[in-house]
């Protein structure tokens, strides 16, 4: 169900971000790419600031820096000038251009401008990919998925080449750099040759380096994107994106089977992911991962009593909430409210699918929520913990309950980019976090304190 009883027409403390931000992050996952916002200067700067506060990495987002006269006469000239300047200074392989509410509304035809640019500007030019991201349409997740789809649409092909091994495409959605590093490890352990799009594992979690890199190394190579049409299959995480996703485009254009699964959070969803990898590779689950699963089950048993029956509110991006809710259900925590600022209209259905056999009663599931709505509901729901990004902190503080920080943004703690959500290893980390948060809460609430669990 969606919020919007008739009297609610304002948003207080949104549980979502705007579309171009998602596009900028997706573009950052491509090798040699510079994200570029076609709009006024503020959008790019605000998003840079916001993204830096999570990843603690430089993120250079260029802007057309439109002013009033451009708003009246159109932003074409500045777009072209901006592209020339970015090319000069950054020597990018790709410029990912996302529109903003301003340029969408004044009706700038970016495709046409790019054609003009192609003809007018001489010399070597970076590849251009553009995506329409009016910020009054959807959330940052629409921006993210649409940017991925645009990249696939523009660049994916059936070129020969690529390294050895069975090629597969992984379209993981907006997960952490740590998640992507781990996905690479898993797929490579199956002797698969994965193309992960986008890949922010290095670009948004870089190393200390000898010299300053204008564009951080890493990201999905454009040459690898060009061979995505050859893959045995695409594995796409998430169910709430539009039908015209990156995986769907690959299926339509190149008949690459698109396997759409929930984000592999928790044992059951991870099992499904591993099952697909077994089928795709023809190999059994490598011993290393079997052992990790075994240790995870062992810890589930060791820790179950400390969390059984605890009530949780889960919020954030819809696909991540679906994954987390399934995970909480399997460890005995009761999800009582699942909330997102997104509006896919598939949210409740996907949560029911992922948890139906585990939960005697479905949680309340609401789309289009903000933190005012979540807070209001929380008062009567009496949750024991919150699971979501940093923006839930004021609520956790008000209720004096633990906040398990996951997703994006994490800007009141170090290491947002290193949080692991996916697979057996991710489940292990989340499980320990949650159990320990509950133990710590009990311990600190105890008038005498205790030294053993």
């Amino acid at each position: 169900m969606s919020k919007n009883p008739p009297n609610y027409i304002s948003t207080t403390n949104a549980c979502k971000l705007c579309t171009p931000l998602g596009a900028a992050i997706a573009f950052k996952g491509i090798e040699g790419a510079v994200p570029y916002l076609h709009g006024s200067q503020g959008c790019a700067t605000y998003m840079r600031r916001y993204i830096i506060s999570h990843f603690n990495e430089p993120i250079d987002i260029a802007s057309s820096s439109l002013s009033e006269k451009h708003a009246v006469y159109g932003g074409g000239a500045n777009l072209k000038l901006g592209l020339i300047n970015v090319t000069k200074k950054y020597r990018p392989q790709l410029i990912g251009i996302a529109t903003t509410c301003l340029t969408e509304t004044i009706g700038d035809d970016v495709k046409m401008f790019l054609n003009q640019y192609e003809q007018e500007v001489k010399g070597e030019k970076p590849t251009m990919v553009e995506v329409g991201t009016p910020s009054y349409n959807g959330t940052h997740m629409e921006g993210f998925h649409n940017a991925v789809a645009s990249v696939v649409d523009a660049l994916a092909g059936k070129k020969d080449g690529g390294a050895e091994g069975t090629p597969v495409n992984i379209l993981p959605g907006f997960v952490s750099p740590a998640d992507i590093r781990y996905l690479k490890e898993i797929t490579e352990d199956f002797s698969l040759n994965p193309t992960i799009l986008p890949d922010i594992s290095d670009t948004m979690d870089g190393q200390a380096a000898k010299t300053y890199e204008k564009i951080q190394p890493g990201g999905t190579p454009i040459s690898a994107i060009a061979t995505m049409g050859n893959a045995l299959a695409s594995v796409e995480f998430g169910h709430t994106m539009s039908e015209k996703s990156g995986g769907a485009i690959l299926a339509e254009k190149f008949a690459v089977e698109n396997i759409r699964i929930s984000q592999p959070v928790g044992i059951r969803a991870s099992d499904r992911f591993f099952d697909h990898l077994v089928k795709l590779s023809g190999l059994p689950i490598p011993e290393k991962h079997r052992a990790e699963r075994g240790r995870l089950v062992d810890s589930y048993v060791d820790g179950h009593k400390y969390i059984y029956g605890k009530k949780a509110i889960v919020y954030g991006e819809e696909d991540m909430v679906v994954g987390l809710t399934a995970f909480l259900a399997e460890i005995g925590v009761i999800p009582i409210l699942c909330a997102s600022g997104g509006k896919s209209r598939k949210f409740a259905e996907k949560i029911a699918e992922a948890t139906g056999d585990l939960l005697p009663e479905q949680p309340q599931v609401h789309e289009g929520m903000d933190f005012y709505d979540i807070s209001e509901l929380a008062e009567s729901l009496e949750p024991d913990l919150l699971v979501g990004h940093s923006k839930g902190y004021p609520l956790a503080q008000k209720l004096s309950i633990p906040l398990i920080r996951v997703g994006f943004p994490i800007h009141d703690r170090m290491g947002g980019q290193r949080i692991l959500h996916l697979g057996y290893r991710g489940a292990q980390q989340l499980f320990d976090l949650i159990v320990n948060a509950c133990i710590a809460k009990k311990q600190s609430d105890s008038p005498i304190g205790y030294s053993y669990m």
Partner: protein
Amino acid sequence: MELLKEREEQIHRTGEQPFTLTCNKDSLAGAVSQRACVFCGSRVVLYPIADALHLVHGPIGCAVYTWDIRGALSSGPELHRLSFSTDLQEIDVIFGGEKKLTNALFELIERHSPKAAFVYSTCIVGIIGDDLEAVCRNVQKEVNIPVIPVKSEGFKGNKRAGYTAACNAMARLIGTGDTTGISPYSINILGDFNLAGEIWMIREYFERIGVEVVANITGDGRIADIQRAHGAALNVVQCSGSTMDLAKVMEDEYGIPSMRVSYFGVEDMAQALYDVAGHFNNPEIMAKTQALVKEELQELLPKLEFYKKALTGKKAAIYVGGSFKAFSLVKAFRLLGMDVVMVGSQTGTEQEYRELAEITDPGTIIVDDTNPLELTSFLEEKTVDIFVGGVKERPIAYKLGVGFCDHNHERKEALAGFVGMLNFAEEVYSSVMSPVWRFTYQKAEKK
């Protein structure tokens, strides 16, 4: 590094040629400016007013990226820490957002009982042409509080234009309150935003010397105080870029003189108090000021010695929002024995840059509206030990293996006043002297 041609005239090196520097122009497309927009300028100035409703009329991004961005503390209500938006959708863009805005205002005013409401326009509102003035007027008729439009469409200039929009909005409040009982020795504090509780320290200094503070504009600000701010005898303006416009309006309309001050660094803090005391020309106030400065310095200076010893000869670079703050930082670094080798700002004026060129050492880079690649090359060229900036500058410093001090909206350390100087020294010291730089490649190679 090779500069983009259009950027060349916005960079000056002290002593290497006669002073020339172009500034206050639109950011260059594709240059990755560190600047934000008009909306940002008005938002950061007005938002610390803690008992007002701050409603952003636009799609969600503008409100969400500025949610509690400044960490401006309040001693009472905290309405300013919430992020309100009309969250415009496609249908509102097509049919206009006035109705939604009206409903949002009624809803939020009923829910929170604010003392006033500010309605910020964003890019899109300027394009679709919603009549904010009319909506605010109509709502105000019904709700019995001031409902004030802030004309801050993002594309209508840079951050400075946003400051002006904020001052225009506040000017509508001033003159509407009762001024009886205000002391002849009274001031308004303009241009302090109460980061880390700084305005409480500054207010205390003024109280100690016998000066009444009528209104804080805008840190820990209250609508009722601003409404009676025209009863004060003097406006004391710190962040001149952001609030000088308001001081000018108050001078024109109410004859209130103003002075520019800075609370950063020992010299400027003391000077600010002396200037205010001097303005009132009252021996008792002057005597109290002298006693205060003496007392504070006796406490502070011995403590600073430790840091000075460690930091002498180290090199600092500065890039801040407004350039007036940069003067104080140059002096503060000198007090610690450090050399400033680069100083720049997003929105400085030609006069300010000229004065910076006069007080800085030969070879110092002075830069307007710069970007990550330029900053990188300056920091590398000058082999800097610490960089002062905001969140966007932080990863640039860290990737280069350079220490960092946050002197912007988000900082949690009070850097104003006498205690602030000590905090500043501590923070600079703890970054410059950290052993972690031994592991970064740049520093390791230099050794």
